[in-house]
C-alpha cells in the first residue's frame, strides 16, 4: 500500500513581525492562510498523512484563539491523520498550555507527537510506524535521536518514518550547536526511511529526487528577508518497497525579496520601476538597496519610481545610503557664486573622497539648498 505524505514544518503561527508595523496583521494572518492552503493542496493530492515536523507555532505562549484556528484548519484535512511534532519553538512539556489545549481541541485524527517513541499507524489504516523525536525545550546541545536503537526496530514490513526537529550539519546554520544538532550520518545510521525534518527554513535538498531520504521542506510561508523562496512543502509518495516520489509544492502567500540595484541614469530608474510594477510582485515585501550617482532630477525620478513601486508591492523598504546625488565641481560652479561660502564649503568637502566626506557633501548640499529654498 502506498502512503502519501504532505510534509511541512516551521510555519511559526503567532510570529509577530514587529519590524513591519504597516503590514504586521497581514503577515500574521498569512501564516494561517498558508496552513489553509496547504491543507487544501494535501486534500487535492489525496495525501494520507499531514506531517508538521516542528514549529507549527512560533512560541509556547499562543493565544487560545490562535490554537483553535490552527486546529480548525487541520481538521479540514481529509486524509487519515495529521501529525504535529513539537519543535524547538513550540516544544512540549507536560505543563504545556499550548499542546494540552491543542490536544483537547484536536479530534482523534490529529496526533501530537509528544513523546519520543514509536507511533503505530495501523489504527489509522496505514502500514507505517512513526518514530517521533519531539523537542522538549527551546535549546539543546543534544538532538532527540538518542532513544532510537536497533531494539525499537521491529522486523515487520511497516514503513518506518522518522520525524525530527533540529539543525542538520552542513545545511542549517547553528554555530553554537544549540538547536538539537544532527548529522546525515547519524540519521542514516538509525535505519529509518525516510526522515522528515523541520527547523531549517530553506528546503533541502533544493530539488529532491527518488534517492532523497532526508527531507527538509523549509518554511511554507517566508518570514523574513533571509528566506528568499516562495514557501514550500513536500508531497512524498511512499511505496512499500521503499520507492519514493517527492514533489515540491509552492505554498506561500508572501515573498521577501532583497534586490540591489545600481542606478546610473534615467533608463535604469525606468527599468526598475517597470520591473517591480509587475503583478508578480504584488505579494512581495521588497527591500531595494539602491546604489549609484544620479543627478538631482534623476533622484526625483527615483523618488517617483519608489512611490509607484510602493503602491504595487505589499511593502517596500528602500536603502539608499549609497545612492548619491552627483555633486560635481561643475554643479557647484553652476549654482553658486565663486568664492561664496556655499561654493567654498562644497568644494572643500568634494576634495575628500571617503564615505563620510561624501555623506557630508550630500548633506551639506541638502542643507544649503534647504536654506536657499526657505528664502
Amino acid at each position: 500500500m502506498a502512503i502519501k505524505i504532505f510534509h511541512t514544518a516551521d510555519l511559526h503561527l503567532g510570529m509577530k513581525f514587529a519590524g513591519y508595523p504597516e503590514i504586521q496583521d497581514k503577515l500574521i494572518n498569512a501564516r494561517y492562510e498558508t496552513l489553509e492552503n496547504m491543507v487544501k493542496i494535501a486534500n487535492k493530492e489525496e495525501c494520507d498523512l499531514f506531517v508538521i515536523a516542528g514549529d507549527l507555532f512560533d512560541r509556547i505562549t499562543v493565544k487560545a484563539g490562535e490554537i483553535s484556528r490552527a486546529v480548525k484548519t487541520l481538521n479540514e484535512f481529509e486524509g487519515e491523520l495529521v501529525m504535529a511534532l513539537p519543535g524547538n519553538h513550540d516544544y512540549y512539556t507536560k505543563d504545556s498550555n499550548l499542546w494540552n489545549n491543542f490536544s483537547q481541541l484536536a479530534g482523534d485524527r490529529i496526533l501530537v507527537l509528544k513523546e519520543p517513541k514509536v507511533y503505530d499507524l495501523k489504527n489509522y489504516h496505514l502500514d507505517a510506524a512513526v518514530f517521533s523525536c519531539p523537542c522538549s525545550s527551546k535549546h539543546s546541545a543534544e538532538n532527540m535521536l538518542g532513544w532510537i536503537s536497533a531494539d525499537n526496530l521491529t522486523s515487520d514490513n511497516l514503513i518506518k518514518i522518522g520525524i525530527v526537529h533540529g539543525s542538520l550539519e552542513g545545511v542549517s546554520p547553528d554555530f553554537d550547536k544549540t538547536y538539537y544538532p544532527m548529522t546525515n550520518e547519524e540519521l542514516e545510521s538509525k535505519g529509518l526511511d525516510p526522515w522528515l525534518l523541520g527547523h531549517t527554513h530553506l528546503s533541502w535538498p533544493e530539488n529532491p529526487d527518488k534517492n532523497s531520504r532526508i527531507l527538509i521542506p523549509g518554511t511554507p510561508e517566508p518570514d523574513g528577508f533571509d528566506c528568499k523562496h516562495a514557501g514550500n512543502a513536500f508531497i512524498i509518495n511512499l511505496e512499500p518497497a521503499s520507492k519514493m516520489k517527492i514533489q515540491k509544492v509552492s505554498t506561500g502567500k508572501y515573498r521577501f525579496l532583497i534586490k540591489q540595484i545600481t542606478l546610473n541614469d534615467e533608463d535604469s530608474i525606468k527599468r526598475m520601476e517597470e520591473k517591480y510594477n509587475k503583478e508578480e510582485y504584488e505579494n512581495t515585501i521588497l527591500r531595494l538597496v539602491l546604489k549609484g550617482r544620479l543627478k538631482r532630477e534623476e533622484l526625483l525620478k527615483v523618488k517617483e519610481a519608489i512611490k509607484s513601486i510602493e503602491e504595487k508591492v505589499l511593502h517596500l523598504q528602500v536603502i539608499q545610503e549609497e545612492l548619491d546625488e552627483e555633486i560635481t565641481p561643475e554643479l557647484i560652479n553652476s549654482e553658486f557664486t565663486q568664492d561664496s561660502f556655499p561654493h567654498q564649503l562644497l568644494m572643500s568637502l568634494l576634495k575628500n573622497k571617503d564615505f563620510t566626506a561624501n555623506r557630508a557633501l550630500q548633506k551639506a548640499y541638502d542643507i544649503i539648498r534647504e536654506i536657499k529654498n526657505e528664502d
Binding site: M15, K16, A18, G19, D58, R59, T61, H89, Y91, T93, K94, D95, S136, S137, K138, H139, S140, G224, E297, L300, K301, E321, E330, I332, N333, S334, E335, F336, T337, Q338, D339, S340, F341, P342, H343, Q344, L345, S348, L349, F355, T356, A357, R359, A360, Q362, K363, A364, I367, I368, E370, I371, K372, E374, D375
Partner: protein, 814 residues
C-alpha cells in the same frame, strides 16, 4: 564674452524681437512690463537652461515663458563675441520640456547640437562660472539687499562692522546666509549629537538605558538607546529562554524520577488492597488454626481431666491424708519419748543437786560460826595495837655501842623484848630501837625513852587492847586473829556452798515439786526407744506429703474449674465436637480465598516491608510532584518576565538597530565634518581677504557718495567705518537707504571687477539707481559709465531720466 545680440522668437510676451548690444554701456529703456526683464530671462535661459527637460525642471524653468498668446514653442538666439570671434547660440524649447533643440555655431567652425555639448561650449566661453554669472553679473541677490531687513529687524551689532558686511556680502552672494547656515548646521549637529559624548562615543555622563535622557535626545543617542534596549531585551530573552530551558530540564529530571517511582507503583499499587486482604486472611487463618488447636486440646484435656477426677482424684487425696496422719503420729511418739527422756535426765540432776545441798548443810553445821562481824571486831582491835606499835616504832632510837673491852649485856625494847649481846673488845654494836630501849648490864642498867609522847601510856593501851583481843578470840574458840580469819573463811565458804547448792537445786526444780516429779518418774517406768528419733525428717515428710496433697487438690480444683469453663464455653462435649467442624469449615474457606489472591511479591520478606515501600514510594512521588509544581510555578514566573519577542526575533531587531545606529552615526559624523569644515573655512576666510577688494570698493563708494563721506576706515583689508567730512564715523546700520543702495552698487561693481578681472565680460544692471537722490544718481551714473569703459554693461531702466544720465547707447523697448 560680449553680448552682441539677443533674439526672442517668441519668448514670453515677446513674439519676435532682436536686440543688438554693443561694447560699453547699453541702456535698455522702456516702461514697466515692456519686456526689459524678459530680455534678461531670455539671456539667462539661452546661457543656462537645457532644451531637454524633466517635467519638474520644465515647469520650474521654462513653462512660464511659453508665449502668452498661445503656441507650444519658444526660441532664443544669442550672438556673442569672445576675443573678436563671433559665436551664435540658438535654443528652442517645447511645451512639456521634451524635444527641444539647441545649436552652437562658431565663426568659421562646425556646428554643435545637443544640451551636453552646447552647455560645455558655452561654459568654455563664459567669463565666470554659471553661479557667479547668475548671482553677480546677471542678477544681484546679494545678502546686502536683505541686510536692510536684517538691520531693521534685529539691529544686531554683528553687522555693524563694515568689514563683516562686505565679507558676508561676498560670501552670501548666493543668497545663503552664513548665519543661517551656521545655525542650521548647529541645529543639525545638535539634532544628531545632543547628549552624546563624541570623544568617548557614549552617552553624556554615561547615562545609558538605565538612566536615560528623556528630553532633547539627539538622533545618535536615540538610536543608541534603541540599540541598547534591543540588546538588553535580546540578552534578557536569551537568558530567560536559557533559564526556562534549564527549568524544563529540571522538571524533566523530576518527571523521570517520578516515572521510575510510578513504574514500581504501577506494579505494587494495584495489588495493594489484595495484599491487605491476604494479610488479613492469613491472620484469620492463624487465628482459626489456633482456635482449632485450642479446641482440640481442650477436648482432649476435658476427657483426661474428667477421667482423672472421677477415678483418681479422691483416691490420691485419701492416700495422702492417711500418710500424713501416720507420719504425724510417729512424730508425736518420738516427741513424747524424747520429752520423757529429758524429764528423767532433769530429775536426775535435781536429785543430785538435792544431795549436794544436803552435804553442804552438813559441812556447815560442823564449823564455828565466826562471822565477818567477828573478824571485823578482831581486826579493829588488832589494828589499834598495830597503830600504837607504829607510833612507838616511829620514835627511832639508834644505839651505837663501842666495847673497849668485851661486854655482856641485855637489851630490852619497848615491848620488853630482851636480847642478849656479847660484844668483843673493840667491837661495835649497833641497833635501832623504837620509843624505848633498855640495856641491862650486869653492872648497870640503862633506859632510854623517846622524847615524843608517853611511850608508857601507849604501851599500856596496847596491852589493854591485847587482852580484849585475846578475850574475844577465846570467846569464839580460836587463838589468834589468823586462826579466826581461817575459821571465818571456812564458815563463809560452807555457807556459800549451801547457798549455791540451794540455788542450783531451786533453779533446776523451778516451780515443780520434787516429790511430784519423783512420783511421775516412777510412774513412767521403763520406756522403749523408737527406731528413729529424727522428728525433723518426719516433719519434712509431712510437709512434702501435705504439699503433694495440696497439689492434687489444686489439680482437682483446676480440673473442675476447667471443666466448668469448658462447659460454659462449649456446652457439652458433643457440642464441642461440632465447633471443631465449624472451624474446619472456616479454615477451608479462608484457604480457598487465599488461593485467589496474589502472593506477596517475592522481593518482600514480609507485609510490613511491602507496605513500607509503598508508603515510601508514594511519599517520594508526592515530593517529586511538589517539586514539579514548584518548578512549573518558577517557569511561569520566568515566562511572565520575558520580553514580548523571542530571542530570534530580538536578534533580528537588534541587528537592524545596530545597522541603524551605524547609519545614523555615520550621518552624524558627516554633519560633524560639515560643521568643522565650515568653521575652518570661516576662520581661513577671515584671514585671507580678497585681494584689492577694499581699494576698489572704496573708490567706487567714495566717488558715489556726494562728499558725504571722505574716508573709509579700514580694518585689515576690510573697510570698517565710513568717515564723514566732519570726521564723525558712521557704521553701516546708520546709513540711509540711498546710501545703502550706493553701497550695494559699489559692492556689485567691485565684485564684477573682481570676477571679470582680465576677462571679456558683461554686467547686467536692473535699475539700481531708482532709490538714490538725484546728486547721487549722477555720481553713480558716472561710476557705471566708468565701469562700462572696461566691460560691457547692459543697464535696464524704466526711467528716461536715468537713461539720460547714463548717456549710453539707448535701446528702447516699447
Amino acid at each position: 564674452m560680449r553680448i552682441k545680440a539677443l533674439t526672442l522668437q517668441p519668448f514670453a510676451g515677446v513674439v519676435e524681437k532682436t536686440v543688438e548690444f554693443f561694447p560699453g554701456l547699453n541702456v535698455v529703456v522702456g516702461p514697466n512690463e515692456a519686456g526689459k526683464s524678459t530680455l534678461l530671462y531670455a539671456l539667462e535661459a539661452a546661457l543656462f537652461t537645457p532644451v531637454d527637460l524633466t517635467r519638474s525642471k520644465y515647469e520650474k524653468l521654462i513653462k512660464e515663458y511659453l508665449p502668452a498668446n498661445g503656441g507650444n514653442v519658444i526660441r532664443v538666439y544669442l550672438d556673442f563675441q569672445v576675443n573678436g570671434k563671433d559665436f551664435q547660440l540658438g535654443k528652442e524649447w517645447k511645451a512639456g520640456g521634451k524635444g527641444g533643440s539647441c545649436i552652437f555655431k562658431s565663426e568659421g567652425s562646425s556646428e554643435y547640437i545637443g544640451d551636453e555639448k552646447v552647455s560645455e561650449l558655452i561654459n568654455q566661453y563664459l567669463p565666470a562660472q554659471e553661479g557667479t554669472i547668475r548671482n553677480v553679473l546677471l542678477t544681484w541677490q546679494s545678502a546686502l539687499d536683505r541686510t536692510k531687513d536684517i538691520f531693521d529687524n534685529s539691529g544686531t551689532d554683528v553687522r555693524s562692522d563694515l568689514g563683516s558686511i562686505l565679507r558676508s556680502s561676498i560670501m552670501e552672494t548666493d543668497g545663503i546666509s552664513i548665519d543661517k547656515l551656521k545655525e542650521k548646521l548647529e541645529w543639525e549637529y545638535k539634532d544628531y549629537f545632543n547628549h552624546w559624548d563624541i570623544e568617548k562615543k557614549e552617552p553624556e555622563n554615561r547615562r545609558g538605558i538605565n538612566n536615560p535622557y528623556t528630553r532633547d535626545v539627539g538622533k545618535i543617542l536615540s538610536v543608541y538607546y534603541d540599540k541598547e534596549n534591543k540588546k538588553r531585551d535580546y540578552k534578557l530573552a536569551s537568558q530567560i529562554e536559557e533559564e526556562i530551558d534549564k527549568i524544563n530540564d529540571e522538571i524533566r529530571a523530576e518527571e523521570e524520577k517520578k516515572a521510575k517511582i510510578q513504574e514500581k507503583l504501577i506494579k505494587y499499587e494495584p495489588i495493594k488492597n489484595q495484599i491487605v486482604e491476604r494479610q488479613q486472611i492469613e491472620g484469620d487463618l492463624k487465628t482459626i488454626t489456633n482456635q482449632m488447636e485450642d479446641i482440640m486440646k481442650n477436648s482432649e484435656s476435658w476427657t483426661i481431666q474428667e477421667n482423672w477426677l472421677s477415678h483418681n482424684a479422691d483416691l490420691e487425696i485419701n492416700r495422702l491424708n492417711e500418710r500424713i496422719d501416720k507420719l504425724k503420729k510417729s512424730r508425736d511418739q518420738v516427741r513424747a519419748y524424747l520429752e520423757n527422756k529429758e524429764l528423767r535426765k532433769r530429775f536426775k540432776k535435781i536429785k543430785d543437786l538435792s544431795d549436794r545441798l544436803k552435804e553442804a548443810d552438813e559441812r556447815l553445821s560442823q564449823v564455828s560460826p565466826i562471822t565477818r562481824e567477828d573478824i571485823d571486831s578482831l581486826q579493829k582491835k588488832n589494828q589499834q595495837i598495830e597503830e600504837i606499835e607504829k607510833i612507838i616504832t616511829a620514835s627511832k632510837l639508834r644505839l651505837s655501842f663501842n666495847a673497849k673491852t668485851s661486854q655482856n649485856f641485855i637489851t630490852k625494847d619497848a615491848t620488853g623484848q630482851k636480847e642478849e649481846h656479847l660484844i668483843k673488845k673493840n667491837h661495835t654494836f649497833e641497833k635501832i630501837f623504837h620509843g624505848k630501849l633498855a640495856i641491862e648490864h650486869e653492872e648497870w642498867s640503862l633506859e632510854v625513852q623517846s622524847g615524843e609522847g608517853d611511850v608508857n601510856a601507849l604501851i599500856a593501851q596496847k596491852e589493854k587492847t591485847r587482852k580484849e583481843l585475846k578475850a574475844e578470840l577465846t570467846k569464839i574458840g580460836v587463838t589468834c586473829l589468823t586462826e579466826a580469819k581461817s575459821e571465818n573463811k571456812k564458815y563463809e565458804q560452807y555457807k556459800n556452798e549451801v547457798y549455791f547448792a540451794r540455788q542450783a537445786y531451786q533453779d533446776e526444780l523451778g516451780n515443780d515439786d520434787y516429790k511430784q516429779l519423783e512420783k511421775k518418774i516412777e510412774s513412767l517406768g521403763e520406756e522403749k526407744e523408737p527406731h528413729s528419733l529424727d522428728t525433723d525428717e518426719l516433719t519434712a515428710n509431712i510437709t512434702d506429703t501435705i504439699r503433694d496433697l495440696k497439689m492434687i487438690e489444686n489439680k482437682k480444683e483446676e480440673y473442675e474449674n476447667n471443666i466448668s469453663q469448658w462447659q460454659q464455653k462449649y456446652g457439652t462435649k458433643r457440642e464441642l465436637l461440632l465447633k471443631i467442624g465449624g472451624k474446619q469449615y472456616q479454615l477451608e474457606k479462608a484457604q480457598k480465598k487465599l488461593k485467589n489472591l496474589p502472593e506477596l511479591p517475592a522481593e518482600f520478606t514480609d507485609y510490613k516491608s511491602f507496605f513500607d515501600l509503598l508508603d515510601l514510594l508514594n511519599e517520594k512521588k508526592e515530593n517529586y510532584l511538589e517539586n514539579i509544581y514548584k518548578l512549573r510555578d518558577k517557569k511561569i514566573e520566568k515566562e511572565q518576565g520575558k520580553p514580548e519577542f523571542s530571542s530570534e526575533e530580538l536578534s533580528v531587531m537588534l541587528n537592524e538597530a545596530e545597522q541603524n545606529y551605524k547609519r545614523v552615526f555615520l550621518e552624524g559624523e558627516a554633519v560633524a565634518l560639515i560643521k568643522s569644515k565650515a568653521s575652518e573655512l570661516l576662520e581661513s576666510i577671515g584671514k585671507n581677504p580678497y585681494k584689492d577688494f577694499q581699494s576698489r570698493f572704496k573708490n567706487y563708494f567714495l566717488n558715489m557718495s556726494t562728499g558725504s563721506f571722505t574716508k573709509i576706515e579700514m580694518d585689515d583689508d576690510y573697510p570698517s567705518k565710513l568717515i564723514k567730512p566732519d570726521g564723525s564715523k558712521l557704521s553701516y546700520n546708520l546709513l540711509s537707504f540711498g546710501t545703502k543702495d550706493t553701497f550695494s552698487l559699489a559692492l556689485r561693481l567691485t565684485m564684477a571687477d573682481y570676477f571679470l578681472a582680465g576677462k571679456e565680460g558683461f554686467l547686467v544692471l536692473d535699475d539700481p539707481l531708482v532709490d538714490m537722490d538725484l546728486a547721487r544718481q549722477e555720481l553713480a551714473a558716472q561710476q557705471i559709465k566708468e565701469f562700462a569703459r572696461k566691460k560691457q554693461v547692459i543697464f535696464l531702466t524704466c526711467h528716461t531720466h536715468t537713461a539720460d544720465l547714463l548717456n549710453g547707447r539707448s535701446i528702447k523697448i516699447c
